[in-house]
C-alpha cells in the first residue's frame, strides 16, 4: 500500500485543500503535507531492499481485464531515486513560490499536487497503459502552471509544450497497443504489464527500417526524445522555461524531463534490445550534438533563464549518450546525472527566480557586480554553477564522469566530442557568472542597495537543502548508487533477455497474467 | 382481386417514392416550412414501410414502431416550427440559409 499512498496522497490532500479559504492556510498546509509526503517516501526508502533486482512493494489490481490492463505499480532500483527526487522537490517548490504566486493560490497548489501524483505515478507504473495515463496526465497541471502563472507569451508556450509532447506520445500509445496485442500471441492472454513486454521477442531485421521492432522502437523513442528533450526536438523547452513561473521551471527541468529518460531505461532498452543496440549510434550522435549545440546556443543567450534552459538541453544530452552507451557505467552515470541535473538545474531556476522576483528582469546585460551587493546569493550561485559544470566533489562530476567513461567504452569518437561539452559548459556558465556577478555594477544593481538583494529566510531554506545535496551526492555517491547498482547492472548485462520478477514471486510474468489477483506483496 | 395483387414490393415502392419526394424537398427547397413538410413525408414513408413489413410478416412490431415514429415526428415538427417562428421573428423571412449565421 505504500506506493499507492505515495502516489495518491497528494491528490487526496488536494481534494481537502478545496475546503480551505485563506491563502496562508493553503500554503502552510501544503508545505506541511509536502514534508509529510517526503517522510513517507523516506519510509519507503528505508524499506527498500537494495540487494535485489526485482520489483518491490508491488500492487496489482485488475482494471480492464479484457485488455489485460491493470493498476500495477512497483518500485526497483531504476525508479527509486526518481521518486525520491520528485518528493524532495515539492516542499522546496512550495516554499520557493511562497511570495511569488499571488493569484489563484489554491489552483496553483492543486496543480502542484496533481503534478506530484502524475509524476510519481509515471515512475512507479508497471502497466504500460497506466504509465501512459500518468505520463499524459502530467501535462495538464503543467499546462495550467505555464498558462496561468507564466510570463508575457504564456499561452503560446503552454500550448506548444502541450501539443508537442502530446504529439510524440501518440506514437507511444500506438506502440503500447501493438505490444499488448503481441502479448496475446505470445502468452495467450492480453497483458499490458511492462514485465510481460520484457518477455516478448519482437521480430527485428538489422538494416531494415520497417521491421516491427524498429518501428515500435522509434515510436517509443519519439515520445521520450521529445520529453527529454533530445536535439532536434528541443524547441519547446526554451519557450516553456522562459514563460513558466519559477516553480514550473523547477519541476519541468527537475523532474518532468526525467520522465523521458526514465522511459528509455524502463521501456525502450529492455523491450527493444536489438533495435536499441543497432540504433545506439544514432542516439549517441544526437546526444553529442545536443550537448554541443545546447552549450553553444546557451553561450549567446541574453536572457538568464533561457541560458539555463539551453544548458538543460546540453545536460540532458549527456543523459541520453549515457543511456545509449548501453554499459553499466553509462547507465549508472545517466541515472545519477538525472538526479544531479534535477538538483542543480532546479537550484539554478530557483536562483534565477529569486533575482527576477526582485528586479523583474532577466537581461544579462543589465546586471554586473552583483557579488558585492548580494554576497550570499553569489556564493550559492557559484556553488550551483560548479555543480552544473561538473567540478569534482559536487554531484555533477560523478554523473558526467561515469557517462563519459561509459560513452568512451561504446564509441571513442562520441566521447571525444562529448568532452567538448565539458569545456563549453564551463565557458557559458562562467561567462554568465562573470557578466552577472563580477565586473562593474550594472544598471539594475547600482541603483539598489544590499538590503534589496538580501535573501529571505524562506529563500535560504530553499537553497540550503539543494546545496547540501550537491555536496553529499558529490562526495558520497555510493550512498545513492548502491540502491540502483543491482538494477542497472542487470539492465546492462542482460538487456537482450531482460526479465524482471516481483519479489517473492519466482515467475512473475506468468503470475501476472492471472488478472483476478487483487494485490500482491 | 385487386387487393390480392398488392404485395410487399408495391408498398415498399410507394414508400421509396414518398421518401424520395420528401428527401428532394428537404434538399432543394428554401422555405423552412416546406422542408419540414419534406421531413414529415420522409418519416411517413418510413412509417409506411414499417407498417407494411408488420403486415406482411404478421407481426405487430412494425405497427408499434410506427407509433414511436409518429411521436417523434410530432415532437420534431414542434421544435422545427418553433425554430422557424424564431427565425421569422428575427429576419421576417423563413429561409433555410438564415441558419448559416449559427455556424460561427
Amino acid at each position: 500500500m505504500t506506493l499507492s499512498a505515495i502516489i495518491f496522497t497528494p491528490l487526496i490532500f488536494g481534494a481537502l485543500l478545496c475546503f480551505l479559504k485563506s491563502d496562508k492556510s493553503i500554503k502552510v498546509s501544503t508545505f506541511i503535507f509536502s514534508i509529510v509526503h517526503f517522510l513517507l517516501c523516506l519510509f519507503m526508502l528505508s524499506n527498500f531492499d537494495k540487494t535485489t533486482i526485482d520489483i518491490q512493494m508491488a500492487e496489482k489490481i485488475s482494471w480492464l481485464p479484457s485488455m489485460g490492463i491493470s493498476y500495477f505499480v512497483g518500485i526497483d532500483g531504476l525508479s527509486v531515486w526518481l521518486v525520491m527526487l520528485t518528493s524532495f522537490m515539492l516542499p522546496l517548490v512550495v516554499l520557493g513560490s511562497w511570495n511569488s504566486i499571488t493569484k489563484k493560490t489554491k489552483v496553483f497548489h492543486l496543480c502542484l499536487l496533481g503534478l506530484q501524483t502524475t509524476m510519481i505515478g509515471t515512475f512507479l507504473a508497471l502497466d504500460a497503459i497506466l504509465f501512459y495515463t500518468f505520463f499524459e496526465l502530467s501535462l495538464i497541471p503543467m499546462y495550467f502552471l505555464i498558462g496561468i502563472w507564466g510570463g508575457k507569451n504564456k499561452l503560446y508556450a503552454a500550448m506548444k509544450f502541450f501539443i508537442y509532447t502530446m504529439a510524440g506520445s501518440v506514437f507511444m500509445l500506438l506502440g503500447i497497443i501493438a505490444l499488448i496485442f503481441m502479448t496475446k500471441s505470445n502468452g495467450g492472454v492480453m497483458s499490458a504489464s511492462i514485465l510481460d513486454f520484457y518477455a516478448l521477442d519482437i521480430p527485428f531485421v538489422a538494416g531494415s527500417y520497417f521491421s516491427t521492432q524498429t518501428l515500435l522502437f522509434f515510436g517509443f523513442c519519439l515520445a521520450f526524445a521529445i520529453k527529454v528533450p533530445l536535439f532536434p526536438l528541443h524547441t519547446w523547452l526554451p519557450d516553456a522555461h522562459v514563460q513558466a513561473p519559477t516553480s514550473g521551471s523547477v519541476i519541468l527541468a527537475g523532474v518532468m524531463l526525467k520522465m523521458g529518460t526514465y522511459g528509455f531505461l524502463r521501456l525502450v532498452l529492455p523491450v527493444f534490445p536489438e533495435a536499441a543496440e543497432y540504433w545506439s549510434w544514432l542516439f549517441l550522435y544526437l546526444g553529442v550534438m545536443g550537448i554541443i549545440y545546447g552549450a553553444l546556443v546557451a553561450m549567446v543567450q541574453t536572457d538568464i533563464k533561457k541560458l539555463v534552459a539551453y544548458s538543460s538541453v546540453s545536460h540532458m544530452g549527456y543523459v541520453v549518450i549515457g543511456i545509449f552507451s548501453l554499459n553499466t557505467f553509462g547507465l549508472t552515470g545517466s541515472l545519477y546525472q538525472m538526479l544531479c541535473h534535477g538538483i542543480s538545474t532546479g537550484a539554478l531556476f530557483f536562483l534565477v527566480g529569486m533575482l527576477y522576483d526582485r528586479t523583474h528582469s532577466r537581461e544579462i546585460t543589465k546586471y554586473g557586480g552583483l557579488a558585492v551587493k548580494a554576497p550570499i546569493y553569489a556564493i550559492a550561485f557559484v556553488i550551483v554553477t560548479m555543480s552544473s559544470i561538473a567540478v569534482p566533489m559536487t554531484n555533477g562530476f560523478v554523473g558526467e564522469f561515469l557517462i563519459l567513461l561509459g560513452t568512451f567504452g561504446a564509441s571513442k569518437v562520441a566521447a571525444g566530442f562529448a568532452v567538448l561539452g565539458v569545456i563549453l559548459g564551463a565557458a557559458y556558465m562562467l561567462w554568465l557568472v562573470k557578466r552577472v556577478f563580477f565586473g562593474p555594477e550594472g544598471e539594475l544593481v547600482a541603483s539598489k542597495d544590499e538590503a534589496f538583494f538580501k535573501l529571505t529566510i524562506k529563500e535560504k531554506l530553499v537553497l540550503a537543502p539543494l546545496i547540501v545535496m550537491i555536496f553529499w551526492m558529490g562526495i558520497f555517491p555510493n550512498h545513492f548508487i548502491s540502491y540502483s547498482e543491482a538494477s542497472l547492472n542487470h539492465l546492462s548485462k542482460n538487456m537482450s533477455n531482460y526479465e524482471l520478477n516481483i519479489v517473492g514471486q519466482a515467475n512473475g510474468p506468468e503470475v501476472n497474467s492471472n488478472n483476478s489477483q487483487g494485490e500482491s506483496k | 382481386m385487386i387487393a390480392s395483387t398488392i404485395t410487399l414490393h408495391h408498398c415498399l415502392f410507394l414508400s421509396i417514392l414518398i421518401f424520395s419526394i420528401g428527401a428532394f424537398g428537404v434538399l432543394v427547397r428554401k422555405n423552412i416550412i416546406v422542408i419540414l413538410m419534406g421531413i414529415e413525408l420522409m418519416l411517413n414513408a418510413v412509417n409506411l414501410s414499417f407498417v407494411s413489413f408488420g403486415y406482411f410478416n404478421s407481426s405487430l412490431d412494425g405497427q408499434l414502431m410506427s407509433f414511436f415514429v409518429m411521436t417523434v415526428a410530432a415532437a420534431e415538427a414542434g421544435v422545427g416550427l418553433a425554430l422557424a417562428v424564431t427565425v421569422f421573428k428575427k429576419f421576417k423571412k423563413i429561409d433555410i440559409k438564415l441558419f448559416e449565421t449559427l455556424r460561427d
Binding site: T235, W236, L405, A415, V422 | -
Partner: protein
C-alpha cells in the same frame, strides 16, 4: 596513526576554509590571517611527521583509505591517499611554502576589504593541492586537479569588481578545462586498456617494451594526459592563461601560479613515469613542447615591463624546462627543478609582492629603481633568487638546471637540439632576470616623491626563509660528478629518495663532457647577465640597436606573439559567431520553423475539412443521405462480407 596524521593534514585547511568562509564579511585581517596561517602550519607539521613515517616505513609507502568514493562494477575509486617519496616531498613543499605565503599575505593584504574570504580561498587551495598530490588514483587526482583550478579561478578574480581581473579568472578556468578534457580522455583510455586507474597498479602493469608509433593505447593515453598537463602547467599552446593570472593578489601568484599548482602537470608525469616511459613518442612531444616553451616564454620575458609579467613568463619558461627534463626521461632532475623552482620563484614573487606593496601597487619596473637601499631585506633575498634562477653555483637552480641540460644532452631520449633549446633559454633567463634586478634594485632612483619603506616582519620573514632555501636546496641533489670531487662524497639525497618510486635512467656519459657542459652553461649565463648589466646600468646602447635591427621580431615578441589575439580572432570570435548563427538561423529559423510548419500543416488540413462544414443544413442533409446510401449499397451488395 598515519590515518590520523593524514586526516589532520587534509582537514585542517578545510576547517580553516570553513571558519574563514563563514565569517567572510570580517575585516579583521589579524584573526583571519591567524586562522589561515595556523591551519597551514598545522598541516606543515603533519607533513613533516608523515615524511618521517614514510622514511621509516619498510617500503617507503603509506597508503590510507578513508572511504569508497565511486564503486561500480570494475570501477573502484576510493578516497585513498598515498604518501610515498614523491608525494611526501610535494606535501612538504606545498604546506611549507604555503605556510610562508599565508604569513606573507597577512602583511600584504592588510588594506583589503575581505581578508577572511582571501584566507578561506587560500586554505581551500591547500586542501585541493594536497588531494592532488596525495591521490592514489587518477580520478582522485582529478578531484584535486579541478579543485586547484577552481581556487585559482576564485583567487585570480579575487578583486572581481575589476572587469579584466574577473575575465582573467574565467580565462584561466576555461583554458584549464581544455586540458582537463584531455585528462579525462587519457584516463578513460588507460581504464579501458588496463582496467584500473590506481597509480600503483598502472605503474606495475606497464608492458616492458615501449610502444612504437602513435596509435598504441598507452601512447594515446599519455598524449591526452599531456594535454591535461599543458593546461595546468601552462605550456604551449595553453599557456596563455598564466600571464593573465597575475591579476590575482601577488602571494597567490607566488603560491598557485609559481610554486605549486602549475607544477601539477610535471608532478603527474613524474608520478606516472613508468607509464610515460612506454610511450617514447609522447616523451619526444613533451620534451619538444617543453623546450620550445622554455625559449619562447623567456623571449617574451625579455621585453616586458610589468614585474609580475616578467616573473610569469619566467615561470612558463621554467616549467618548460621541467617538461624538457621529464620528456627526456630525466624525471628526478625534473622533479628536483620543480622543488628548487618552488623555492626561488616563490621567493621572487613574494619579493615582487613586497615591492608592489611598498610602491602602493605599482608594477611597472620603469617606475621602480634604486630600491636596493630602501628595501635591503627584500633586495638581498631577491638576490638569492636571482642567483638561483640564472644557475650560479652553488645556488639551488644551478644543480637542478645543469642536471636537466646534461640529461637533455646525454639521455637516449634527449638530443643536441633539445640541449640547445635549453641553453638558449638559460641565456635569456639570465638576461631578463638581470634586467629585472637592474631596473628594480640597482638603477637610479626614479621615484623619490613618496617614501618607500621595507615591509614588516610578516613579509620579510618568509622572504628570508625562502632565500635560505634558494641558496641551499641544491645540495639535496648534488649530481654524481660533483659529489665525486667533493670531500666526503655527499650523496644525492633527493635522487636516492625518489629513486624508490620514480623511473631512473642510467646515463653513461663521460664525466669530462658533463663538466664541460656545466662550465659552458655557467659561462653563458654569466656572460648574458653581464651583458644585461652593462645594457641597463652602464647604458650601452646594445639593446636599442638590437631592437632597432629586428624591429618586427621585437614587436612580435613584445606583443607576446599575438597569441591571445590569434585565439580571439580564430577561435573565440568564430565560436561566438557560429553560436549566434546556430541560435538565430538554425534554432529559431530552422528547427523551430519545422515545428511550426508541422503545426501549420495540421491547421491547413483542418481548414480543408472545414469547407464541408459550411453551415448549410441542406448540404449536411445531402451528406447524410449520401452516406446512408453508400452504406446501404455496401451492405446490400454484400461487399462487407
Amino acid at each position: 596513526m598515519e590515518k590520523t596524521l593524514l586526516s589532520i593534514l587534509l582537514l585542517t585547511p578545510v576547517i580553516g576554509f570553513l571558519i574563514n568562509g563563514i565569517r567572510f564579511r570580517s575585516k579583521n585581517i589579524k584573526v583571519a590571517g591567524s586562522i589561515g596561517t595556523g591551519a597551514a602550519l598545522i598541516s606543515f607539521i603533519c607533513s613533516v611527521a608523515l615524511f618521517f613515517k614514510v622514511k621509516a616505513a619498510p617500503d617507503h609507502m603509506v597508503l590510507v583509505k578513508f572511504f569508497d568514493w565511486i564503486n561500480i562494477g570494475s570501477l573502484n575509486i576510493a578516497a585513498e591517499f598515498l604518501v610515498d617519496p614523491i608525494s611526501s616531498i610535494m606535501i612538504l613543499i606545498i604546506t611549507g611554502v604555503g605556510t610562508l605565503i599565508h604569513l606573507f599575505s597577512i602583511g600584504y593584504m592588510d588594506h583589503d576589504e575581505r581578508p577572511a574570504k582571501y584566507f578561506s580561498y587560500l586554505n581551500f587551495f591547500l586542501f585541493n593541492m594536497l588531494v592532488l598530490v596525495l591521490a592514489s588514483s587518477l580520478p582522485l587526482m582529478f578531484v584535486g586537479w579541478e579543485g586547484v583550478g577552481l581556487c585559482s579561478y576564485l583567487l585570480i578574480g579575487f578583486w572581481f569588481t575589476d572587469k579584466e581581473k574577473a575575465a582573467a579568472g574565467m580565462k584561466a578556468f576555461i583554458t584549464n578545462r581544455i586540458g582537463d578534457a584531455g585528462f579525462l580522455l587519457g584516463m578513460f583510455m588507460l581504464f579501458y586498456t588496463f582496467g584500473t586507474l590506481s597509480f600503483g597498479e598502472l605503474n606495475e602493469m606497464m608492458p616492458a617494451i615501449p610502444e612504437i608509433g602513435w596509435a598504441g593505447p598507452v601512447t594515446l593515453a599519455c598524449l591526452f594526459l599531456f594535454i591535461g598537463a599543458t593546461g595546468k602547467s601552462a605550456q604551449i599552446p595553453l599557456y596563455v592563461w598564466l600571464p593573465d593570472a597575475m591579476a590575482g593578489p601577488t602571494p597567490v601568484s607566488a603560491l598557485i601560479h609559481a610554486a605549486t599548482m602549475v607544477t601539477a602537470g610535471i608532478y603527474m608525469i613524474v608520478r606516472m613515469s613508468p607509464v610515460f616511459m612506454v610511450a617514447p613518442n609522447v616523451m619526444m612531444v613533451i620534451a619538444t613542447i617543453g623546450g620550445l616553451t622554455a625559449v619562447l616564454a623567456a623571449a617574451v620575458g625579455l621585453t616586458q615591463w610589468d614585474i609580475k609579467k616578467v616573473l610569469a613568463y619566467s615561470t612558463v619558461s621554467q616549467l618548460g624546462y621541467m617538461f624538457l627534463a621529464v620528456g627526456t626521461g630525466a624525471f628526478i632532475p625534473g622533479f628536483f627543478h620543480l622543488m628548487t623552482h618552488a623555492f626561488f620563484k616563490a621567493l621572487m614573487f613574494l619579493g615582487a609582492g613586497s615591492i608592489i606593496h611598498a610602491m602602493h601597487h605599482e608594477q611597472d619596473m620603469r617606475k621602480m629603481g634604486g630600491l636596493k637601499k630602501k628595501m635591503p631585506i627584500t633586495y638581498w633575498t631577491f638576490m638569492f633568487g636571482w642567483l638561483a634562477i640564472i644557475g650560479m653555483p652553488p645556488f639551488a637552480g644551478f644543480f637542478s638546471k645543469d642536471e636537466i641540460l646534461w640529461l637533455a644532452w646525454a639521455s637516449p631520449l634527449g638530443s643536441k637540439w633539445l640541449w640547445a633549446l635549453g641553453m638558449i633559454g638559460a641565456a635569456m633567463t639570465a638576461f631578463y632576470m638581470t634586467r629585472l634586478m637592474c631596473l628594480v634594485f640597482w638603477g637610479e632612483e626614479t621615484r623619490s616623491d613618496h617614501k618607500v619603506k621595507e615591509s614588516g616582519l610578516t613579509m620579510t620573514f618568509p622572504l628570508m626563509v625562502l632565500g635560505f632555501l634558494s641558496a641551499t636546496a641544491g645540495f639535496l641533489g648534488i649530481p654524481h660528478v660533483i659529489s665525486a670531487v667533493l670531500p666526503g662524497h655527499p650523496p644525492n639525497i633527493l635522487g636516492d629518495w625518489l629513486g624508490h618510486t620514480v623511473v631512473h635512467l642510467d646515463i653513461h656519459g663521460s664525466a669530462i663532457t658533463e663538466w664541460l657542459l656545466m662550465g659552458w652553461s655557467v659561462t653563458v649565463a654569466g656572460a648574458s647577465a653581464l651583458l644585461a648589466y652593462y645594457c641597463y646600468i652602464k647604458k650601452i646602447t646594445f639593446v636599442d640597436k638590437f631592437t632597432e635591427q629586428f624591429k618586427p621580431l621585437h614587436q612580435l615578441v613584445e606583443k607576446k606573439y599575438l597569441v591571445d589575439e590569434l585565439y580571439q580572432a580564430k577561435i573565440i570570435t568564430p565560436l561566438i559567431g557560429v553560436s549566434k548563427i546556430l541560435w538565430s538561423d538554425i534554432d529559431v529559423s530552422f528547427v523551430d520553423k519545422c515545428t511550426h510548419l508541422l503545426s501549420r500543416f495540421a491547421v491547413s488540413c483542418g481548414k480543408g475539412f472545414r469547407s464541408f462544414q459550411n453551415g448549410n443544413m441542406q448540404t449536411y442533409a445531402f451528406y447524410m443521405l449520401l452516406g446512408s446510401a453508400v452504406t446501404l449499397f455496401y451492405i446490400m451488395t454484400g461487399m462487407g462480407k
